[in-house]
Subunit: 231 residues, 2 copies
DNA sequence: CATGTTTTCGATTCTAAGGCGAAAACCTCG
DNA sequence: CGAGGTTTTCGCCTTAGAATCGAAAACATG
């Protein structure tokens, strides 16, 4: 089927990322405050225009490097395309949105216009960025239940209660440490390091340290309710 | 952060859809045979260039109307963005890929260059369309397990064995009718119509007819392993 | 050393899914 | 019209994973 031969309008493509991290007990997103119109002084997602010789994945990593040390990004995945014709003023711009995750022990140096905001109490955001953040949050919450994506939120080594804090902050409700421990262990995602952490000032039994058994730091979706036979 | 001020290359955006349907006992995808170079006589996904005043969702529905009666599309969802710089020859083109589903009782009239191909034995495909089809297939298989997306593959009313056939063809292995019946019922997705179908020539007990309890024909993702409290 | 705190582990319950076989309902053919 | 064959349906049992509970372990402080 031939393409329609009308002149095509100028069209730009941008990449945006909702970079999430658990810090100070709540799930937060990296935003920067716009200095210029349109939407000056509103908060927006990091990102920028797609370059001529890069994929959207390459592009978002390149652009995020301006905001945060990309080596601290433990996970990046496509979220969705946002393409409403009036989503931004000016020339038509399509956005590919990403979800990025930073482990909770990292505290990257940030530009002065950039800060972490709790995803549940966002400031005034620019354009459709509010909806993108919520979509990222929902995607993360869903995947936390049935994938090993938690490794991207946790430090390399952690105690079960620390992990419980991360899961609780992300999901928005308190999960049981006992259950978390066994569910992740049964799935073969958790591995004891043998080390233990020193207890806090209040005493208590020292907690064993664990790590995720990351097979190559990939998010796996091992989910099938109707199982293939032979198991 | 200001945009870089270099001139931006011409960039096009296209939408593509992997429209899947179970027919003749196997999961198939709607492809059309290219008449012109590049990649003449190879099979490619329906779609086309994004119009100036439409979202990608609007666009894919408009473009699919040229191939298949869109009223038969029970479900359409974004799949992913494909953006490798060399994914198609000629000017740079970004693709937003969709997954579309047609219930198995529909047999839409097709243009002469268009046909259904089993997703597991694809003919020679154009560009990166092969990868897109496989991604759509995998997404469908995964979601079939933990959402109600099956309603988009099934007729309005069906017997349990018919549904079993659809699930088996989609997943690629045989599922148990007994279990399928109970799992879907327990989730509250299945509803008896009261009617029964007449048995085939070979006899047998007449099968009860069911329908999906589609709350507004939406795909719901009711999945949480770590449950919120109060349930 | 007693007390308090935190973590860990085992035992039990609960829910969902998978498997099996008997019963039900219908056909065709002799 | 009844015997045999076919397909569907339903109940019971097993298995697996998750949630809950409480006791025991390991440490700090006074």
């Amino acid at each position: 089927m031939p393409n329609r031969s009308t002149a095509h309008p100028q069209l730009a493509h941008e990449v945006l990322a909702a970079v999430l991290q658990v810090r100070a007990g709540s799930l937060r997103v990296l935003l920067w405050e716009r200095g210029m119109e349109p939407h000056a002084h509103r908060w927006s997602l990091p990102g920028g225009r797609l370059g001529g010789d890069e994929s959207v994945e390459d592009s978002i990593r390149r652009q995020l490097a301006e905001k945060v040390d990309v080596r601290q990004l433990a996970h990046v995945e496509q979220l969705a395309v946002f393409s409403a014709p009036d989503r931004v003023p000016g020339p038509r711009t399509i956005a590919t949105a990403f979800l990025g995750l930073v482990p909770s022990d990292n505290d990257p140096a940030l530009p002065s216009d950039t800060a972490w905001h709790p995803v549940d109490t966002l400031p005034e955001t620019a354009f459709d960025h509010h909806a993108i953040v919520l979509r990222a949050r929902d995607r993360l919450r869903a995947k936390l239940s049935y994938t090993n994506i938690g490794f991207a939120l946790a430090p390399p080594e952690f105690t079960v209660s620390a992990l419980r804090g991360i899961y609780s902050a992300t999901l928005g409700y308190r999960v049981s440490a006992t259950n978390l421990q066994r569910v992740l262990s049964r799935r073969g995602l958790l591995e004891a390091t043998g080390e233990t952490s020193r207890p806090g000032r209040a005493g208590g039994r020292p907690a064993a340290l664990y790590r995720f058994t990351c097979r190559g730091m990939q998010v796996t979706d091992p989910f099938a309710v109707f199982r293939p036979p032979s198991r």
